[in-house]
């Protein structure tokens, strides 16, 4: 089971939970699993979030993830 760390402002969409357990093997499955567990997250994830795996941002839904990875959702970042 993955442990997905959300930013604290999302707790109001997850019944106060900040670390969400999700069964998934890829980033895409993990994002889908978050929405399935907490439908209130759907507009947040649809609007775009960044995913950090062990401190490095990943953009692919196919990036593999394991329970050994540190997984964080963070605000989507745009550059100049």
């Amino acid at each position: 089971m993955l442990k997905v760390h959300l930013w604290s402002g999302l707790r109001r969409f997850t019944d106060g939970v900040e670390v969400v357990p999700v069964e998934a093997a890829t980033v895409g499955q993990m994002l889908d699993g978050l929405v399935a567990a907490h439908p209130g997250l759907e507009p947040v994830i649809a609007a775009g979030v960044s995913v950090a795996i062990d401190g490095v941002l990943t953009a692919s839904r196919f990036t593999p993830v394991t329970p050994q990875n540190e997984i964080y959702l963070i605000q989507r970042v745009k550059g100049g």
Partner: protein, 750 residues
């Protein structure tokens, strides 16, 4: 020949060959946006709102259309309806609908046979307005009784009961804030403000557009991202993206401001209405300042806790930013994420809101949000260091993040280089320079994430063994030279044997713009992969020629050769020999790579500035300036140094002079460079640079991206230096001479 921790030695990486665009630029041969001309071309002018907020009652273009030579007029009625989200924002910003939302908002556009005729005819378009109450300042816009820009515009993040102009709310943090502040020996809280500033690129927006009734169109445009132009114009005009071919010109600066559309859809709409004749639209400087994206203005509260020996124990930031009259335009999320990213702090909390105001739609500006955030945090940190009698550089080193530390925005840092940067600062001779009367020294750190993004690159081997690389990222800071160096390094050929072209939207898969400091990182990474793909094919051709297994051939020094004594005895087959025969060995040889580039490495920097403030005028002179930044790997160090210097200079302008000055009527008062004061060469000394190299493991040559971090530390570094020089602390930018002089006089009276 530089070496890194990966034990790699380089033949070309880290050298400083001639710039591929150098001759064109110094001879005036380079073709910019306004240089394009086509047969039968029309010229466009735009009618802009003179009001900050006004309902558009009626637009009468009959007098203009009656002029001989006027070919088309477009208003919002010529655009499709039913758009939502950011597509609607882009359409609404390109051409006002029922309401003009800021001074300079386009309300109509006209095409005629000459530019003068178009400009004269535009004056004949009569627009009736009902002027509405307006709001400009970020804190004023947050008032419950402020004029409402767009009721119900807030997204799902906005808590109930928020002021009506709030469009986004963000909150994140970790640790026990109360315990963190309780553990501090000194807790201080202050409010800081920064004004909106423009990217200040020298080349105004310009394009030539052609669109037929069949929906097929072409555009030549000055942009950081031709695919973004294609996607946004297609959405705003209801076109199929593949039917619009967009070719980028050479670019005279962008800094984030040319990653979105402003007037490009107007040129396309005018062309379509004028029977498909091409239309040229070139903005004036006044148009650029009134109607294209500046960055946000900000109002920021910061609270820090520190022990008496300089360890940070807790931090709370609360930011308010306006990004104009459109949702999602401000960089408040990025500002919050960057605010405390330099420091290892056990307890942090971030809150922020975006608020709408009657200003132009903000665009990205070099490390969006990070400079403002750094101004607030790094200034308060400096104030507390002085109050506790601590060395500001030592305190930054004591708290600096490094690999394995939890970032303020959540994850654990991978390999980063802030400690190495601060150590390089400490060793620099600029810190030994003696300061005289009215002089001060300021230091600040800065951070930017950097970005990967959607990337597509193609590489073709020419008949003579030279190589063409096609990239989709316009060259804003040396991308062509750096990508040529990496390609040549990988292929084992000369730098001069590689030409890198920035190509149009029909030539490659989708590319994000040159934004997020990504071009050298992402297009470079893809070019290396494309070169490796071509190498594999060339090894296959050599193996077939020699009649041995493909696995028995390796690539070395620009040639295929047997991998070992058991592979057979054959002389090396050079890329030129393979290329000369390729027509008879299977046809053209190329490589390509498509990716959404992962492996981005964050970049940290620190600046030290010495200033002198004239106590009689309040004018600040920069005496010396040092930029130290982690590049990961400097592929072409001269370009890297140029990026460091350019970022510093833009930040110095932001700190000392640049601001949007609005009148009580909400009109911009300083819409020309004579009044909007950006730094020029004679204002500044040579900016000293030190390139630190902590290679990014996520890139084959260790690149991190260097374009943005350099604008982050100057705002607080300059403010800290001015505070030391004058003995007074100013917490709002710019530190313009009148403001500094008033503060000095007030201190004298006290």
């Amino acid at each position: 020949m530089p070496k890194d921790e990966l034990k790699s030695e380089f033949r070309l990486i880290g050298t400083r060959p001639d710039r591929p665009d150098g001759l064109d630029k110094v001879t005036g041969r380079a073709r910019y946006g306004a240089d394009m001309a086509l047969p039968g071309m029309l010229f466009a002018a735009v009618v802009r709102s003179p009001h900050a907020h006004a309902r558009i009652l009626k637009i009468d273009a009959s007098a203009a259309l009656a002029l001989d030579g006027v070919k088309a007029v477009v208003t919002r009625a010529d655009f499709p309806t039913g758009l939502t989200g950011e597509d609607w924002n882009l359409q609404e910003n390109s051409m006002a609908g029922d309401v003009a939302l800021y001074d300079g908002h386009a309300v109509a556009a006209i095409a005629a046979t000459s530019r003068l005729l178009a400009e004269d005819a535009a004056k004949l378009i009569k627009v009736d307005y009902e002027v509405l109450p307006h709001v400009i300042d970020v804190d004023d816009a947050l008032r419950m009784d402020a004029p409402v820009i767009r009721a119900g515009a807030g997204d799902h993040t906005v808590p109930e009961g928020s002021p009506p102009n709030v469009s986004k709310y963000i909150e994140f943090g970790h640790g026990d804030l109360e315990a963190g502040f309780a553990a501090a020996d000194l807790v201080r809280e202050q409010t800081y403000k920064t004004e909106a500033t423009h990217q200040g690129y020298i080349e105004p927006h310009a394009c030539v557009a052609q669109l037929g009734a069949d929906g097929k169109g072409e555009m030549w445009v000055c942009t950081q991202g031709q695919w973004y132009i294609r996607r946004m114009c297609s959405a705003v005009l209801g076109l199929e993206a593949s039917q619009l071919r967009v070719t980028p010109s050479e670019i005279g600066g962008g800094f984030g401001g040319k990653t979105i559309i402003f007037m490009e859809p107007l040129a396309l709409a005018l062309s379509r209405k004028a029977g498909g004749r091409p239309v040229k639209l070139v903005m004036s400087r006044s148009d650029v300042l009134r109607a294209t994206g500046p960055t946000a203005s900000a109002s920021m509260d910061v609270k820090l806790g520190m022990t008496k020996d300089g360890k940070l124990t807790a931090a709370h930031v609360n930011f308010r930013m306006q990004g104009g009259a459109f949702t999602g335009a401000s960089p408040v999320g990025e500002a919050l994420s960057c605010a405390l990213a330099c420091y290892d702090i056990p307890a942090v909390m971030h809150n922020g809101v975006e608020v709408l105001a009657n200003r132009p739609k903000a665009a990205a500006y070099r490390a969006p949000g990070s400079p403002m955030a750094a101004f607030a945090v790094e200034c308060l940190l400096d104030e507390m260091c002085h109050e506790l009698g601590l060395d500001p550089l030592d305190v930054r080193l004591k708290n600096a993040v490094h690999e394995g530390v939890k970032a303020s925005y959540g994850p654990t840092y991978a390999k980063i280089g802030l400690v190495e940067v601060l150590q390089a600062v400490k060793a620099h001779p600029n810190l030994l320079a003696k300061l005289g009367p009215n002089q001060g020294r300021g230091i600040a750190s800065g951070f930017w994430f950097n970005h990967g993004g959607e990337t597509s690159v193609s590489l073709a081997i020419g008949e003579d063994g030279t190589v063409t690389v096609s990239v989709g990222t316009p060259d804003v800071g040396g991308g062509r030279a750096s990508i040529a160096l990496m390609t040549a390094e990988t292929l084992g050929i000369a730098y001069e044997a590689v030409r890198v072209n920035v190509v149009e939207t029909g030539a490659l898969g989708v590319n994000e713009p040159s934004h997020g400091s990504r071009a050298t990182f992402a297009s470079g990474k893809a070019a290396v992969e494309a070169a490796r793909s071509a190498i594999r094919e060339m090894c296959r051709r050599a193996a077939k020629e020699w009649g041995i297994d493909e696995e028995a051939v390796e690539w070395k020094d620009g040639a295929a050769m047997p991998a070992g004594p058991n592979a057979g005895k054959f002389p090396p087959m050079s890329i030129a020999e393979i290329a000369a025969k390729m027509g008879g060995t299977g046809g053209p040889i190329s490589g390509h790579h498509e990716t959404n580039a992962d492996g981005v490495g964050a970049s940290f920097g620190a600046h030290v500035v010495d200033v002198e403030v004239d106590p009689e005028t309040g004018r600040t002179t920069i005496l010396r300036y040092l930029v130290v930044q982690d590049a990961g790997r400097a592929i072409h160090p001269a370009y890297v140094e140029g990026q460091y210097q350019g970022g510093a200079v833009q930040g110095i302008g932001w700190a000392l002079n640049e601001e949007y000055v609005y009148g009580a009527n909400g009109r911009l008062q300083n819409a020309v460079f004579l009044d909007y004061r950006i730094p020029v060469a004679s204002d500044l000394p040579m900016i000293d640079t030190v390139i630190v190299e902590v290679p990014n493991p996520g890139h084959p040559y260790g690149v991190r991206g260097v374009g943005e971090t350099g604008i982050t530390p100057p705002l607080p570094a300059v403010a800290n230096a001015v505070a030391m020089a004058t003995g007074v602390r100013l917490r709002s930018l710019p530190l313009s001479p009148p403001k500094v002089l008033a503060a000095i006089k007030a201190k004298g009276r006290a």
